[in-house]
């Protein structure tokens, strides 16, 4: 259906209809839910009941709204960060030298390890107020969302098609107009996709960041995460069941209301020469487009955004880029400044490390890191072994793939840490070895990334190649080796990279799991960091995080990136 058909259809309906009432109910309901939650945020700590979480199912909707609001506050911050950081990195050659590698490192730092440090910082910033705690939680979520969004935006900005760039320049759009008319729209599909991935990952962190223990202090924010934490200490299985159910509903809602429409809408920004296959219109988007009142409202928002984007905020006279005007002198100054800053940072690190750390501690962290590495690799490998055949089977059946793909994405968004208690109970019950049996915890969360990427790859596999393989009677192992595996390799590698990053983060919560007073510990870097956090040992926390980042960066550089490049070259 073309967009002109929508307009024609909507124009016929002048009076409010049944859809309008449905929409009104939705909007009002959302408003009512948000207001009391916002009020709670600005209350003093004592009044907000910081430590008084109740395990009543009736309170769960309120907790769910608090949790969700945190998510979106962090998302707003992440988008703002993406626009500024990404733009700066793409526009300034000198900033690019620093910002891009920095982003690469930030991306591989385990966020959960930082939690304790940032909490102290933010609580000190707003003493006695819930706001500090809220900000700490929001910051944790932000750090789980921002990096890949920023990377995606930066990459889009550096690959704006040359002809569109020339058109924008020859019509002399100002920098501001150019940003909103060319750059942001061009980056939109990638940005929306990455935002969706970020949000999926973030549920995990929002749940983990609401109840923070540092040394003898425990900070608690009203939310589903705290609810589950309390249920764990009270061994209340029913409460955990309620929390899981609530979370399922929340994720389903946000998936249906926000992301399905957003993804469908973002397809219009794809730069393609032909009209692609029609994408089924999500019901919320249909609601927005077909309902008179909502359409007017969304159009008003659109016009407003349009007007902002059209403002001529910057001078229009842009000199053409002079070829090779790189000033050697400026570069030298810049590099010297950077070198000085790095030297200063190194000095700080040396002072810090020599004060609180020994070589032995470093060795322990390294060995623990190897233990975690084994666990992470096992988790990814097992996920691939299980889901690769199933994913290929589903992906090659278009109707099944259309259903399975969103389901897998949905499951990936579900915070796996809510399911941990179930596994822990089993381990305790049967007296299993936690060093081995805590690994499934990591698989719970990571497997879906493998699955939905494999489905996507198999669904995109060219039909004629399948027919050739069938025609030549290529079957069995040969078919896997020569036909499908090379064909979906880029997707499989993408899935494995995402799964692996997720697994590393999970180690911090998965290697130490408790059920009431029983605490299971597996040897590993995650447990190391978790333990250091419990003792309030900042030096060890930093060491643990640094070692883990090191593992991630080295694996990415030496293994995943070459493999991905290889897969891309071979499959295209």
């Amino acid at each position: 259906m073309s967009s002109s058909a929508y307009t024609a259809m909507a124009a016929r309906r002048r009076l409010p209809n049944a859809w309008d009432f449905v929409a009104a109910a939705c909007v009002l309901g959302a408003l009512m839910a948000i207001v009391p939650a916002v009020r709670g945020t600005f209350a003093p700590i004592a009044a907000a009941g910081v430590t008084s979480i109740h395990l009543k199912p009736a309170l769960l909707p309120y907790y769910a709204v608090r949790t969700t609001l945190r998510m979106f506050a962090a998302l707003a911050a992440a988008i703002l960060f993406t626009f500024t950081y990404g733009t700066l990195a793409a526009k300034s050659r000198r900033a690019e030298m620093i910002l891009v590698p920095l982003l690469d490192i930030l991306q591989s730092v385990p966020i959960l390890g930082f939690l304790s440090i940032t909490v102290v910082f933010f609580v000190d910033l707003f003493p006695g107020r819930v706001l500090g705690l809220e900000l700490a939680a929001i910051f944790a979520i932000f750090t789980s969302q921002a990096w890949n969004m920023t990377f995606s935006f930066y990459q889009s900005l550096t690959t704006v098609p040359a002809d569109l760039d020339e058109a924008a320049r020859s019509f002399r759009l100002s920098a501001w107009q150019r940003f909103w008319r060319l750059e942001v729209p061009f980056a939109m599909p990638g940005l929306v996709w990455n935002t969706m991935l970020s949000m999926s990952g973030a549920w995990f962190f929002v749940v983990a960041s609401e109840s923070i223990t540092l040394g003898s202090h425990t900070w608690t924010l009203p939310g589903i995460g705290s609810f589950v934490a309390l249920a764990l200490t009270e061994r209340n299985l029913r409460a955990i069941g309620w929390a899981i159910a609530t979370m399922l509903v929340v994720i389903l809602l946000y998936d249906q209301i926000l992301f399905r429409p957003l993804v469908a809408w973002a397809t219009k920004f794809r730069v393609e020469t032909t009209a692609g296959a029609p994408v089924p219109e999500p019901w919320v988007l249909a609601l927005l487009r077909r309902t008179r009142l909502l359409r007017l409202a969304s159009r008003a928002v659109g016009v407003l955004l349009d007007a902002i984007g059209g403002l001529r905020l910057a001078p229009r006279r842009m000199p053409p880029p002079r070829p090779s005007t790189s000033s050697q002198f400026g570069d030298t100054i810049w590099l010297v400044a950077v070198a000085l800053a790095v030297a200063g940072a190194l000095w700080r690190i040396v002072v810090f490390v020599s004060a609180g750390l020994t070589f032995a501690a470093f060795g322990t962290a390294l060995i623990d890191g190897c233990c975690s590495l084994l666990r992470v690799l096992a988790a990814v490998l097992i996920s691939i072994l299980i889901w690769l055949p199933i994913g290929v089977w589903m992906g090659l059946r278009p109707r099944l793939a259309r259903i399975a793909q969103p389901v897998a994405q949905f499951l990936a968004a579900f915070p796996a840490n809510l399911l941990f208690p179930l596994v822990v109970i089993v381990i305790v019950q049967y007296g299993l070895n936690p060093n081995i049996w805590l690994t499934p915890l990591m698989i719970i969360g990571t497997q879906w990334y493998v699955l939905f990427n494999v489905i996507a790859g198999a669904a995109a596999f060219p039909g004629d190649l399948r027919e050739v393989a069938a025609n030549l009677q290529v079957r069995g192992l040969l078919w896997w080796r020569r036909v499908i595996l090379p064909g979906i390799l880029p997707y499989l590698v993408t899935g494995a990279i995402t799964a692996m990053g997720n697994a590393w983060n999970t180690t911090i919560v998965a290697e130490v799991a408790s059920w009431g007073h029983t605490t299971l510990v597996a040897r590993g870097l995650g447990a190391y960091i978790a333990e250091a956090t419990n003792q309030g040992n900042t030096a060890h926390i930093v060491l643990g995080i640094a070692v883990m980042s090191g593992f991630v960066v080295i694996l990415n550089r030496l293994f995943w990136r070459p493999l991905y490049d290889f897969a891309r070259r071979r499959a295209t």
């Binding site: 020339e166 019509f171 219009k268 032909t274 001529r312 053409p320 070829p323 090779s324």
Partner: protein, 435 residues
């Protein structure tokens, strides 16, 4: 249009040069000392082979590129960046896929900060003028190529530019669509309904240039220069089948294939250098062309315009083929004619293995780059050599794009001749193992 001309030209290009790597010693000229003036009321065509620098010149005029040397004067003042009164139409249309037809058309007006009502009425007028009425709310991807280029035209015309620049505006369209669009544009121009004073268009299609332009500037390549200037004396509408029209097309073919003085066109120079740029021409096409030429009605000799029409190739596609054959001494190209040499006739009659041997011999004798690669491989103990070293050497002689094309060509020709093989993964040349 023979309107009386104003005292100062609309646009003046004064000894403009454009080069890559101006900062280093090995400067690579793309444009060399180009002079050009455009008066009000004329359509000027820049005609030349791809890579002759004509698109670069257009971008210099558009203010998208600053010339390395020389200056552009627009309405008497020095041009610094994109200016009022100059609008451009792109080969690839360059429409914003997320904006509707109307929003695309309004983009330039929005950049000028015009109020919404004025934008509306002017966009309306431009859309109607160019035959897009009813398509206002469509997105570019819903449109055919021809309609998309109409949007591109409307978007440029709506700002009422004095000078309309067009970069191969019809080359991405099929033959029929392109013809309709050309005629529509010329009709509007003749009826003086276009809100422009002059047009400057880049093309590699000789007939298109003769059909549309009042003046044609023929470019020579390496470095880009204006080789000759032709006035087109016919009135609009022009008839392609007219004898004088055909004669002019033939003359331009002859002009473009005329053997140039040895310094500027290295491909035909007596001893081609190591750093000669090669156009990626497939060996299948070369063999096919030689076979066609050897058979009747050509019997070894053909008139290029006629051959182009018979093979449904454009000048831009046929000329590189002829040049490649000339380089390998399988044919001679001169004054709009192509003639097979004895080697060419023998090649056309030979079987596959003999052809490969002949091709290998020709490569060794006439393509120094291929000969060097072979020689280096023979000298190495392991008969392997990284492609990187040849790439580095070539970069002293040409721009990175040309290096890429040249290396690609020499790889594919060498593979066909079985002179050497190439491993893409390792980026390495090697000698075929005899097994």
């Amino acid at each position: 249009m023979d309107t009386p001309q104003a005292a100062t030209p609309l646009l003046q290009v004064r000894s403009c040069s454009q080069s890559y790597r101006a900062d280093t010693a090995g400067e690579l000229l793309v444009l060399d000392q180009v002079n050009l003036a455009i008066e009000a009321g004329e359509i000027v065509g820049l005609l030349g082979r791809s890579g002759s620098g004509k698109s670069t010149l257009l971008r210099v005029v558009a203010g998208l590129l600053a010339p390395t040397r020389g200056e552009v004067r627009w309405r008497g003042t020095r041009l610094a960046g994109p200016a009022d009164g100059i609008a451009m139409v792109f080969q690839s249309f360059a429409l914003f896929p997320w904006l509707t037809v109307r929003e695309n058309v309004e983009l330039g007006l929005e950049a000028q900060g015009l109020p919404a009502e004025e934008r509306d009425s002017r966009a309306e007028a431009a859309i109607d003028l160019i035959g897009l009425g009813g398509y206002d709310s469509a997105y570019p991807k819903e449109l055919s190529g021809g309609m998309r280029q109409r949007v591109g035209l409307a978007r440029a015309l709506v700002v009422h530019p004095d000078l309309l620049l067009m970069d191969e505006p019809f080359s991405a369209l099929d033959v029929l669509t392109a013809e309709t669009l050309r005629t529509d544009l010329i009709d509007l121009w003749s009826e003086r309904r276009l809100p422009v004073k002059s047009m400057l268009m880049v093309t590699h299609n000789i007939e298109e240039a003769v059909l549309m332009c009042d003046r044609i500037l023929v470019f020579s390549a390496n470095p880009g220069r204006i080789a000759s200037e032709l006035k087109v004396p016919f009135a609009h509408p022009r008839n392609r089948l007219d004898v004088a029209f055909r004669q002019m097309v033939d003359d331009i073919y002859a002009l473009m294939t005329r053997r140039p003085p040895p310094t500027s066109r290295p491909y035909a120079a007596p001893a081609p250098a190591f750093g000669t740029a090669l156009h990626p021409v497939s060996t299948n096409l070369l063999a096919g062309l030689m076979e066609t030429l050897a058979q009747p009605p050509y019997d070894g000799r053909a008139d290029l315009p006629a051959l182009a029409a018979a093979l449904q190739l454009e000048a831009d596609e046929l000329l590189p083929l002829g040049e490649a054959l000339a380089l390998l001494r399988f044919a001679e190209v001169e004054e709009g004619d192509i003639r097979l040499t004895d080697a060419g006739r023998r090649f056309a009659a030979a079987d596959t293995d003999t052809r490969k041997a002949m091709f290998a011999a020709a490569l060794k004798a006439h393509v120094p780059l291929a000969a060097t690669i072979r020689q280096v491989l023979e000298e190495r103990w392991n008969h392997r050599a990284s492609a990187e070293r040849f790439r580095d050497e070539l970069e002293d002689h040409m721009s990175p794009e040309y290096v890429h094309e040249t290396l690609h060509t020499v790889i594919s020709w060498g593979r066909y001749a079985e002179l050497y093989s190439y491993d893409e993964e390792a980026d390495q040349f090697s000698l075929e193992e005899p097994d």
